[in-house]
Symmetry: C2
Subunit: 373 residues, 2 copies
């Protein structure tokens, strides 16, 4: 293996595939990036066995300056190759296997020789394309992920809740995340009629988010074991979470006795201020509402208390006191990303929902906690 390539493009590609790599992989080869070179292209692969990212750079891109003297493959420790290529002060870098797996990386006056592993020692990763296929606007996929991912569970007790569930029935794609104290649900329309029900790990989705380029369409391919996202010349492949995702439809109330319309940014700022008072690390915020005012308060025996009064845009219903995790409501309103929100309640101890009139596709549900005085 012996080739020359644009430092900048090669470095960006290394960074992309390195996202899949766990720093302390039990399998030594997986702490490295696999580099495969043929006459016309170079392919980089990074993986932690659950998430695999593969990127192909093609010599048809003139900016790539790809010049292959000899084809071949090698595995180089990701943190070493990243640091070397980042630090090389030259437009192009040269990479050459000089002896077994000893690899020379050079640019301008600097020359590095590092020990790699033979390309054949990399575990075989099946990147074959599954049958269920559709495309989606990058911006829409990005929105689905950011509006739901924060509501996934970080506890491994129920693994299925650590992912976002994607369920397609005909043209309708329902994306749900819940940690059983809150729930986010996004509904979008697919171009084709499809039928699937998969749960994608939140960790993988946050990697997808980083690789997404808002300008491009994303092709998605899946079966019941894995899902692939094709973003430009990058493939991100994720293993799915096993197990049936809970039915969440019946949890969402439809009748409300109290409805609050309020300016998002005032409410977010007030919750942020009140959240500084924590009880055992958690900020419990109380809302006291009637037609004239919304009082936001929090208190703790140790620290003290905090009160703030906002004027609602409108409030329908009798007086209501309700308490909840400040962080959950804050996350939910931020995820909507709209200037106004509507919060609909059914009672002091019933789940409530947060929506925006401006975007009907997304709903946030939160369980309250008991109000103490």
């Amino acid at each position: 293996m012996n080739f020359k390539i644009s430092k900048r493009i090669f470095y960006n590609a290394l960074q992309t595939v390195a996202r899949a790599i766990s720093p302390n992989s039990p399998l030594p080869a997986l702490s490295g990036i696999k580099i495969e070179v043929d006459q016309e292209s170079i392919t980089l692969t990074g993986s932690d066995a659950d998430t695999s990212i593969c990127k192909t750079l093609n010599s048809t891109d003139e900016d790539l300056h790809l010049f292959v003297k000899e084809t071949g493959s090698i595995i180089l420790e990701s943190r070493y190759i990243l640091e070397i290529v980042r630090k090389i002060d030259a437009e192009d870098v040269e990479i050459e296997i000089i002896d077994g797996s000893l690899t020379r990386i050079s640019g301008y006056q600097a020359e590095f020789k590092i020990n790699g592993m033979r390309g054949n020692d990399y575990p075989s990763i099946d990147f074959s394309k599954p049958n269920v296929q559709f495309t989606m606007d990058s911006a829409l996929l990005s929105k689905i992920i950011t509006q739901t991912i924060f509501a996934t569970s970080d506890k491994e007790i129920r693994p299925v809740l650590t992912g976002v569930n994607f369920k397609a029935t005909g043209n309708r794609l329902e994306c749900v995340a819940t940690d059983s104290y809150r729930l986010a649900k996004k509904i979008v329309t697919l171009e084709n009629e499809l039928n699937f029900n998969i749960t994608i790990p939140s960790k993988s989705l946050s990697e997808v988010l980083k690789v997404l380029d808002e300008k491009e369409e994303v092709a998605i391919a899946l079966n019941d074991k894995k899902v692939q996202f094709y973003v430009g010349d990058t493939i991100i492949q994720n293993r799915l979470i096993d197990g049936a995702y809970p039915e969440t439809g019946r949890l969402i109330p439809t009748d409300f006795d109290y409805v609050l319309d309020i300016d998002s940014s005032s409410l977010l700022s007030a919750i942020d201020r009140a959240s500084f008072i924590k009880n055992e690390g958690i900020s419990i915020i109380k809302l006291s509402m009637d037609e004239n005012e919304v009082i936001i308060s929090s208190k703790s025996q140790e620290v003290g208390s905090c009160t703030e009064t906002l004027v609602p845009q409108s409030y329908k219903g009798p007086h209501l006191d309700i308490s909840f995790s400040g962080k959950y409501v804050y996350d939910a309103i931020r995820a909507l990303g709209e200037s106004d929100v509507t919060i609909s309640f059914s009672g002091e101890m019933k789940p409530f929902i947060i929506k925006s009139e401006k975007d009907d596709s997304i709903l946030q549900l939160i369980l309250p906690v008991r109000t103490y005085n």
Copy 2:
């Protein structure tokens, strides 16, 4: 106590005095900021018993909007008062003791009540001004600190080496830091003739650095127990380190058989690149020099090797191989802050010095390590 004050100025002042505070002070009062209010001014104090910072805001500053309804004093937990004042969304904040030590902080629609401690419970800190006094340009003090502080020791075995020694003899002020593997020495001229020999903890000096305002003169006052820096309306007072500072003059060689003049930024970049190869966390760099070229290299059994060739501006002497900590030489050249450096060697295992022709006031000395091949 009851007063109103500009949120912005009050917040900045709180941040300044909070720098002295240790988050987990054994003395509860010292985890707080003491606020003392009289008719014309407000004084804030933060301390960890070794470093104390005191700032007085005077009503003569119109931007301060200081309006005192009632004088008094209180101690408020620093992280609470900082977070509250930062989050208040109003031009001015109001602070009032409402019951014992329960304090109300309010601005616009938000109101916080937090439990404080009575002002009298704050330990008494003696801010009286010692007799040895002089002034110095802020920019010069800042340069003294940044050019020496990194060479102090971080090990508590010899406490005196954890500080920077300031020794005045007549008009000459010698500032020395060493961890016994490297040494930084800065010599400046004082306006007055003075005689003192004190060692200031590096931690305190890094706080002084953060508070310095390049535009102002700094007044310095000291005795054999403490030193005070007067920066505008802020006093930073530090306890000195006990014990005699070692005589370092005789450690600095004066005869050199090998002298290298080289461009700083090329050498820094090359050391940075070569430093990525570490042996047990330390980067050992080897220089091989003659009149035509300087070869910078490093290697480790596990990772591999790295080589780079630079052209010196000039080199006098026979061929020399010498090895050293990449970090030490990097820090030293950076601290000089000049475009060219002169490195003078006496032999493979003798300390060498790094200086710049452009600034004779500062010298960096480094001990080499044995070269292995």
